[in-house]
């Protein structure tokens, strides 16, 4: 991993990433493109995924010798947050996961993945709400995001104490289900006979990649809740009832203050996790901060988006109004890479005693 600059340089680097995100995530919050892609196949724009590759986002975390930008999780989280604010549907986080796996083993279609030319999904998951990779040779792989647009899948398979990696081209054996946000998830039947074995042991790399994906998902959710709350505040400042701006009502003011505090805690948690990992934490220390951040983001994204709907009243319940898009996205993403309950359990299992 290449060194990440600290202090002022670091803040500048994170600012630049945020600015560059505007290329794909319109800062005004225009949802036209997002709405057009909803409930269609493949649910995202392949050209935008390529653009993400060209901008160096898919390889953001990869070392320069693997074609990456060598940046830290601070930058990656900032980017994910910006994309979450705009509900960008392109599956950047799964693409980054695959990229880091391939870079770690130095094999497979790394270049095509990092350039965004092809979407290759890692088909690791066999049941809901887990971070474990049983690697059963014939068990269907579940919950593959935007799978209909994938060119290939990486299938981890346990062989004794190790987890080998196979590359299976897209084609037969894939079924999909629609998701609340207008995307879909796929289920893949592994066909190892037709697949190519590309690595002997990816166990450690995969568990690291899943952790990072959990943290980036948290950052994406943070961006969404921040934007949904900004919309809600605007509404509270303009909507009138009983001859008054509804934002003058103390019951609503206190709800808004509570939402703001949840967002602040989520941001602090994610930034602390990114900084801890960028400083080189490994093992249980890494798992503890990631689980903290993901547990927080999962529960606060649901709480915040629920409250945003409530604070809007009837208009918040219409599909035409954008705030509902954030709720539907949170429903899909809050439990990705582990639910809040899973991460609380993992945190308790790995976290050291409380420091007084």
């Amino acid at each position: 991993m290449s060194a990440t600059p600290g202090g002022e340089d670091r803040a500048e680097s994170i600012r630049m990433i945020r600015d560059s995100a505007a290329a794909v995530a319109p800062p005004g919050g225009d949802m036209k493109r997002v709405r057009e892609l909803r409930f269609r196949t493949p649910g995202f724009d392949a050209a935008v995924l390529r653009q993400m590759g060209e901008m160096g986002w898919i390889g953001l975390r990869l070392p320069e010798e693997a074609g990456g930008a060598g940046l830290g999780l601070g930058e990656a989280c900032a980017l994910a947050e910006e994309l979450g604010g705009a509900l960008v549907p392109e599956p950047l986080i799964p693409a980054m996961l695959t990229g880091s796996l391939l870079a770690a083993v130095g094999a497979g279609p790394l270049e095509r993945v990092v350039s965004g030319e092809a979407l290759v999904l890692t088909a690791w998951q066999e049941r809901p709400d887990t971070l474990e990779v049983p690697g059963s040779p014939d068990a269907p792989r579940r919950f593959l995001p935007m799978a209909a647009g994938a060119a290939a899948f990486l299938v981890p398979v346990r062989e004794g104490g190790r987890i080998a990696l196979y590359e299976q081209q897209a084609g037969a054996g894939l079924s999909t289900e629609q998701t609340q946000d207008g995307g879909h998830v796929g289920t893949l039947e592994p066909r190892l006979g037709e697949a190519e074995r590309i690595a002997d042991d990816i166990g450690e790399a995969l568990s690291l990649a899943l952790d990072e994906a959990a943290l980036l998902t948290s950052a994406y959710l943070l961006g969404g809740m921040d934007r949904a709350f900004a919309m809600t505040l605007d509404y509270l400042k303009t909507r009138q009832q009983f001859g008054k701006i509804i934002g003058t009502f103390q019951a609503l003011q206190h709800k808004a203050a509570d939402v703001r505090m949840q967002i602040a805690l989520t941001r602090a948690s994610i930034e602390a996790a990114a900084a801890t990992l960028d400083a080189g934490a490994t093992g249980d220390a890494r798992r503890a901060v990631i689980s903290r951040a993901k547990a927080r983001a999962a529960s606060s994204s649901m709480l915040v988006t629920r409250e945003c709907i409530q604070l809007h009243g009837g208009i918040g319940y219409t599909d035409q109004y954008d705030v509902g898009l954030y709720l539907r996205k949170a429903m899909v993403m809050a439990n990705l890479y582990g639910s809040a309950a899973l991460h609380r359990r993992r945190f308790m299992a790995v976290s050291p005693e409380i420091e007084e």
Binding site: L233, A256, D258, A264, A272, R345, M348, S351, E356
Partner: protein, 389 residues
């Protein structure tokens, strides 16, 4: 520990931060009385006096005051480190209203004569101050205060009543917010007055609180004559002065230390009660623990801000709300798992770590004092979120 040399007070501010932290640790180790660590109640002057005088003697009493007035002249960053180490060591809060409130106010707004008259006596422990702000009908709405001071010759005549005056029975001086103009808008008719507690007409009555402790008092003023020279700053500008004094110290109301202490006691209790391994309890504990860890991270972002020399915005109110509500949630949980022990007046099994009811009751006023959490939410809504009205 022993290897650390403790430099002269005037040199402390020049130390590198981490070195300074080590010096504070060594200083506490060397000087702080062991039996006063983590006291379960706010201590009175007779208990605090030895530590106060030790600080005075070593020149460490007033960390935030400028050196020319006998302080350590520490930057906010170093004051935070000092406070963190005091908290970590379980140092009791002393009778500190002169140090924290009155001193800085006199330094900022007082006349030369007032500075020379009052500051040295705080440094020697001769003057112990208490704060007369709240009144029976002016609590959260402090600016509604009605205790009045009417000029009569070269004296003010003070009539009225203060309440929640912390450790008034220990104090020999009190600083007051008094109404000096009844016609003006409520914030604009308030002045800042210093009163010798021995002046005829003052009555102090302690209030026993839910901790069965008498730290709060009522103070009554019946035609109390106060020299006009004891007015600090401009007439009718007392409100602005008191507000301007709310500096970075506000951050300490949101320090997560109390919650950390309570959480570790919750774990001890859960083990004692045999529910620690219980899955349902583990999830509840995890929620509290994660709340604590994330609050610590959030608190850390504000500390970093201060260390960079930035000032705090109104959003610091978040810390106070989160910390005090978490502290309460932890002690609520203690009560729920303690069975009949929840109702015991003394610590369970005589173990100070299992002071269940005591800790629960200690957590209650935290959401009320220092601006109730409802007021803090109003501040967030109006000054941070920009909501109207």
């Amino acid at each position: 520990m022993d290897a650390i040399r403790i430099p002269a007070p005037a040199e402390l501010d020049a130390l590198e931060d981490e070195h300074f932290r080590q010096v504070v640790r060594a200083f506490l180790h060397e000087n702080y009385p062991d039996d006063l660590r983590n006291p379960p109640k706010r201590l009175h002057w007779d208990e605090n006096r030895p530590w106060y005088m030790k600080l005075a003697e070593r020149g460490w009493l007033c960390p935030g005051w400028p050196k020319e007035h006998g302080g350590l002249g520490l930057s906010p960053a170093k004051q935070i480190i000092l406070t963190e180490e005091y908290e970590r060591y379980g140092v009791a809060r002393t009778n500190d209203h002169g140090i924290v409130m009155l001193g800085p106010l006199v330094i900022k707004y007082g006349t030369e004569e007032q500075k020379q008259r009052f500051l040295p006596k705080i440094l020697t422990g001769e003057h112990i101050w208490c704060q007369g702000y709240s009144e029976p009908n002016a609590g959260s709405d402090l600016a509604a205060l009605r205790t009045e001071a009417v000029l009569d010759g070269d004296e003010y005549v003070v009539n009225g009543q203060k309440i929640w005056t912390t450790l008034a029975t220990d104090a020999n001086w009190i600083f007051l917010l008094v109404r000096t103009d009844k016609q003006a808008k409520k914030q604009e008719g308030i002045s800042f007055l210093l009163v010798d507690m021995k002046t005829p007409g003052i009555t102090i009555r302690p209030i026993i609180n839910l901790e069965m402790h008498d730290e709060f008092c009522e103070v009554f003023f019946d035609n109390v004559r106060v020299p006009a020279a004891n007015l600090v700053g401009q007439l009718n500008k007392g409100w602005d002065m008191a507000k301007a004094l709310l500096g970075f110290e506000r951050i300490f109301l949101g320090s997560p230390r109390q919650s950390g202490y309570a959480l570790s006691r919750l774990k001890i209790l859960a083990e004692r009660m045999g529910v620690w391994e219980d899955a349902e309890f583990q999830d509840r504990y995890a929620r509290l623990r994660l709340e604590f860890e994330d609050l610590k991270a959030l608190y850390g972002t504000y500390v970093e801000k201060l260390k960079r020399g930035e000032s705090l915005g109104a959003d610091v109110s978040m810390l106070k709300i989160l910390q005090t509500e978490l502290f309460q949630a932890i002690t609520d949980t203690m009560l729920e798992i303690a069975g009949e022990n929840a109702g015991l007046l003394e610590p369970m099994e005589g173990n100070r770590d299992l002071n269940i009811g005591g800790l629960f009751i200690q957590a209650r006023p935290a959401t009320i004092y220092g601006g109730s959490n409802e007021i803090q939410r109003n501040i967030l809504a109006k000054n941070v979120l920009g909501l109207p009205g």
